[in-house]
């Protein structure tokens, strides 16, 4: 893998497990010459409950679910109660200052533009 928004499985210093259990959401990474688009599935997460930060060239996304509360008996369950968390190692070509994000119907879409110097540039023949 040369250029990629790479996933980071490490768990911080000393490999300690965080007290809270998270599940890793499904993600798709798209690339073109301008940059990367990262799509992360977080059903049940609203804009207010989404947190993202870049630290040491790592992008972390945490989404806390607010599921509709239904009174009554649960007859069948396939969903998971845990919140979402996933960390990606950013490719050096990404301009960390210019990352933008939006969330729409449970999908977080991040736009990670490449720094100007790595974009392909046409050279005019004089």
């Amino acid at each position: 893998m040369n250029t990629l928004v790479r996933e980071n499985h490490s768990r911080g210093t000393n490999g300690e497990r965080p007290a809270e259990q998270f599940i890793a959401p499904a993600a798709t990474v798209l690339e073109n010459s301008e940059g990367y688009t990262l799509e992360v599935e977080m059903p049940g997460v609203s804009k207010e409950n989404l947190e993202m930060w870049v630290e040491n060239n790592e992008l972390t996304i945490v989404g806390r679910r607010s599921m509709p509360s239904v009174e009554g008996t649960l007859l069948h369950r396939e969903s998971r109660p845990e919140n979402f968390r996933r960390t990606f190692e950013l490719d050096p070509s990404i301009n960390g200052e210019k990352i933008s994000a939006k969330i729409d119907q449970g999908v977080v879409t991040l736009t990670l533009p490449k720094a100007e110097q790595v974009k392909p540039r046409k050279i005019a023949v004089a």
Partner: protein, 155 residues
């Protein structure tokens, strides 16, 4: 010479596939890949996309909640037939020109989930909302299916 009982390839295949599915589950737990239950993983191997579905029941309603992140409202179909609720639809792949996928975990394509409802419902009063990628279908119980208090007359 011994006589070996004929086995259909299918019946040989299944147990071994099961074992693979279990192994994959274990590996995924270790690697923290997106969670899928054993059954839904197998369903996914053969049918594509299987969104998670929860079903609740209270005195007045049966409520189904389905995880459908990133759908368009128009692409979700809900139908009720013979006491069976079916939710289906399609999520189209959205790739802009010049983009290539370096990692694809999100499922695209068609899906269909069916679930038998525990009681009779009033098909005319079914209500569905779609918010934050969650589809909530509220199915009011038919009058005759609601619990009723019976007065005991003591003479």
């Amino acid at each position: 010479m011994s006589l070996v009982r004929y086995q259909t390839p299918g019946s040989v295949m299944w147990p071994s596939l099961n074992r693979w599915a279990n192994l994959r589950d274990d590996l995924d737990t270790l690697l923290e890949l997106p969670f899928l239950t054993g059954t839904s993983r197998q369903a996914q191997l053969f049918n594509g996309w299987t969104p998670a579905l929860d079903l609740y029941q209270n005195t007045d309603n049966v409520v189904a909640i389905v995880e459908l992140p990133g759908m368009r409202k128009e692409d979700i179909e809900i139908s009720l037939h013979d006491g069976m609720l079916t939710i289906g639809g399609e999520r189209k792949e959205q790739t802009d020109e010049g983009q290539s996928a370096t990692r694809t975990e999100r499922s695209t394509g068609k899906f269909r989930r069916s679930i038998t409802l525990p009681t009779r419902v009033d098909a005319n009063k079914v209500n569905a909302t779609y918010k934050d990628g969650l589809l909530t279908v509220t199915l009011p119980k038919a009058e005759e299916a609601k619990p009723k208090q019976i007065q005991v007359n003591v003479s």
